[in-house]
């Protein structure tokens, strides 16, 4: 029996259309728009102004606090303006817009493809370099990585867990990265282990990626303390709490963090970025993005500079299909629907999924028939049907006692609902309302 998390979960059709497609480098666009807020936490502070000449890899906005991240130029050229542009959130937010001229990198970056295994840095130096390189969680949550590497006083990590699960249907960027850069990821894992002071790391990979499991398992034998853990395919196994439960059978307490059970979780894409930052001195300026969808003529995995318009990626994959109904930034379960493709790729863009008109519209909502499917699939053990009804009626005290704040917004409830009820929509409303009520209470 393969390991997985025991409570809830669904198994949507995997649709990994771009699986096995080699990572191709997308041409640098004529202009990039680099948002200064590509992460959870405070926006970065711009350091450049109109007319400045920048090089690839140069810091153009500096971290705006502890929970924040540096932003680097992904291209060389001249700053056209610093202005608010629409990003994936659908809001206009400040970004540095650069007209591309050539591709001149700052000298300290090692651009060779050679594998560099040895490193000789102390833990705090690694954290510092991760901070400088602007690395954030690349699975989609974009939480600044150096924060996770800074263990709060009184806590201790004993295991590092790497998320190679890629449980979202369609997405293949992590899978492909593990296939093409396995040793880099393993060296990155060692670096993270050093930073955390742990001597054990486990890389969790779902069983629908047999090639990645094989290659990683073979190579991991020569890296001390790193294990590969194949996992049964089950969504949302990439959720931090679910992954920890699946891999080491520890349960993060309600409202707690992985470090409360001695674990730290990083994505394999993030680990690759850490490798590049430490071994190659290269900040996070490009990432792998899956471009996919049933009507897309050429589903692919692309290495893309941050700030490249999404429309360029779609063009590379064969253009926007005529029957396009929805374009999603991320996977189908948790991704965000875009209202335009003229937004930039950011550090958290794991995929661009194009759904056709038929897939794009929701079905008609029917009465709840109390089938309890939502209850049985909720990986957090909540009662989605109930929180939905309570939120609809604005009964916030009850929403709070039903622990809407535990919801990880995986969408399994809505996926499984035979009545197509907008469960997660209302749970989100309830969750955010309750969180602001709690904050207001704490301030009193």
């Amino acid at each position: 029996m393969l390991k997985t998390f025991p409570k809830g979960g669904v198994h949507p059709p995997e649709n990994k259309l771009s699986a096995g497609q080699k990572i191709e480098s997308l041409a640098i666009p004529k202009q990039v728009s680099i948002p200064i807020s590509q992460h959870i936490g405070a926006p970065a502070k711009p350091l450049v102004k109109k007319g400045d000449v920048v090089k690839t890899g140069q810091v153009i906005a500096e971290s705006g606090g502890f929970v924040s991240a540096n932003i680097h130029s992904s291209v060389s050229g001249k700053v056209a303006k610093v202005d608010a542009i629409m990003d994936a959130s659908g809001y206009k937010r400040p970004a540095v817009i650069i007209d591309v001229e050539g591709d001149e990198w700052i000298e300290t970056i090692d651009r060779s493809a050679d594998l560099k295994k040895d490193f000789n840095l102390e833990a705090q130096d690694i954290v510092k370099k991760v901070l400088e390189a602007g690395i954030v969680g690349m699975g989609g949550a974009t939480f600044p990585s150096h924060v996770k590497l800074s263990i709060p006083p009184g806590k201790k990590a004993d295991v590092l867990i790497l998320n190679g699960v890629e449980c979202e249907p369609y997405l293949t960027s992590d899978d492909q990265l593990m296939l093409e850069k396995p040793e880099e990821i393993l060296v990155g894992t060692q670096i993270l282990m050093k930073a955390l002071g742990v001597n054990r790391a486990i890389i969790g990979i779902e069983n629908n990626k047999p090639d990645s499991i094989k290659i990683m398992t073979d190579l991991a034998k020569s890296y001390q303390g790193i294990e590969i853990q194949p996992l049964k395919v089950q969504y949302p196994q990439g959720g931090e709490k679910q992954l920890i439960k699946a891999v080491i059978n520890r349960e993060v307490p309600s409202g707690g963090l992985p470090i409360d059970v001695g674990a730290v979780v990083h994505n394999v894409g993030t680990t690759f970025a850490v490798y590049e930052a430490i071994q190659k001195n290269k900040p996070l300026i490009e990432r792998v993005v899956t471009v996919t969808g049933k009507s897309v003529s050429k589903p692919c995995n692309l290495m893309v500079r941050v700030g490249t318009p999404v429309s360029d990626l779609i063009e590379f994959a064969g253009g926007l299909p005529a029957d396009t109904g929805k374009v999603i930034n991320g996977g189908p379960m948790m991704g965000k629907a875009l209202n335009t493709v003229e937004i930039p790729v950011t550090k958290g863009t794991s995929g661009i999924l194009i759904m056709n008109e038929k897939e794009a519209s929701r079905r008609e909502v029917q009465n709840c028939i109390r089938c309890a499917k939502c209850v049985s699939v909720c990986p957090m053990g909540l009662s989605p049907y109930l929180i939905q009804q309570l939120s609809e009626k604005a009964m916030w005290d009850e929403v709070e006692s039903e622990k809407a704040t535990d919801c990880i917004e995986c969408g399994s409830c809505m996926y499984t609902c035979p009545s197509d009820r907008p469960l997660l929509d209302y749970i989100r409303l309830g969750k955010s309302t309750v969180m602001s009520i709690i904050r207001a209470r704490q301030q009193k």
Binding site: K7, V10, P12, P169, K245, E251, V252, P253, S254, G256, V261, L320, G325, K326, V327, I328, P332, M333, M334, G335, K336, A337, L338, N339, V341, E342, L353, M355, E357, E359, A360, S361, R362, R363, Q366, N367, C368, I369, R370, C371, A372, V375, C378, M380, G381, L382, S383, Y385, D406, E409, G411, M414, Y415, T416, C417, P418, S419, D420, L424, R428
Partner: protein
Amino acid sequence: MSKLLSVSPSPHVAGNYSVKKIMYGVIIAMLPALFVSIYYFGLGAIKVTLIAVLSAIFFEWLIQKLFLKGKSTIADGSAIITGMLLAFNVPSNLPCWIIIVGSFVAIAVGKMTFGGLGNNPFNPALVGRVFLLISFPVDMTRWPIPEPLKFSLTDATTGATPLAILKEGVKNGTPVDQLMSKMPDYMDYFIGQMGGSLGEVSAIALIIGGIYMLMRKIITWHIPVSMIGAIALFTGILWLVDPTQYADPLFHLLTGGVLLGAIFMATDMVTSPMTPAGQLVFGLGIGIITVVIRVFGAYPEGVSFAILIMNAVVPLLNKAFKPKRFGEEVNNG
């Protein structure tokens, strides 16, 4: 970019599930029992089922149109189930107009007054059935004797159900083993050759339907197992105490509406608890109340009443038995 894109919050995919699929799944699961019923009770079974189903659909359509407005819900299949279950719960020689009254009560009182599918606290078919049982006790307890493949609408001989024979006999002081000798053997019960409501007689057909629904994940095992287990345990204890007074557990399981109730009516999603723990308690309650009514009550059969009583407890069970939350009680040894 001229094309307008749809936007909505995630998730952007929905599983291949629908109310319709569930309802038609239940209907398919009921077909084996219907076929056995047609085999034993002939045209009467077909007539009663058809009238019950058609009138249930009609009343749902009418009430939706007149009072609830909105889109008609008759296509979702739930009215068909209510009609079929009502038919399954009455004798096959019931006069047409009584069936129509039963359908009306089931749909109008049992379901639509609460706002239609999903909002009803009680199983609609049972509301209709119990209404008929109380209002028309004679017609509702005149059971045709099963006669395989006798397709005639008239002159069906009638007789008592095994449970009624037992009740009457025990009341008159006849020992149970003497009563048993007058009744069909257990194999007949298992196949369905006995007097009773048209859908309840064949254990094997009901079990086949139940297995189908389990495989399609329409129901879970919790309610049927706990209900049947409770009945077996309770009647078993009584039987061990005094076998001359009380029938054995197998008799209780195979006669009357236990299997129909356990597989098709107690498991109704709308009127049963949301969590496995709640479902186990719910089934347990139904089992105990059924035996209490059968053994100590005025009626020979108590499954319908037991389910309706436990339906009323469901909101409390949902409150008492919440799912165990992730990270609620952490034991990371």
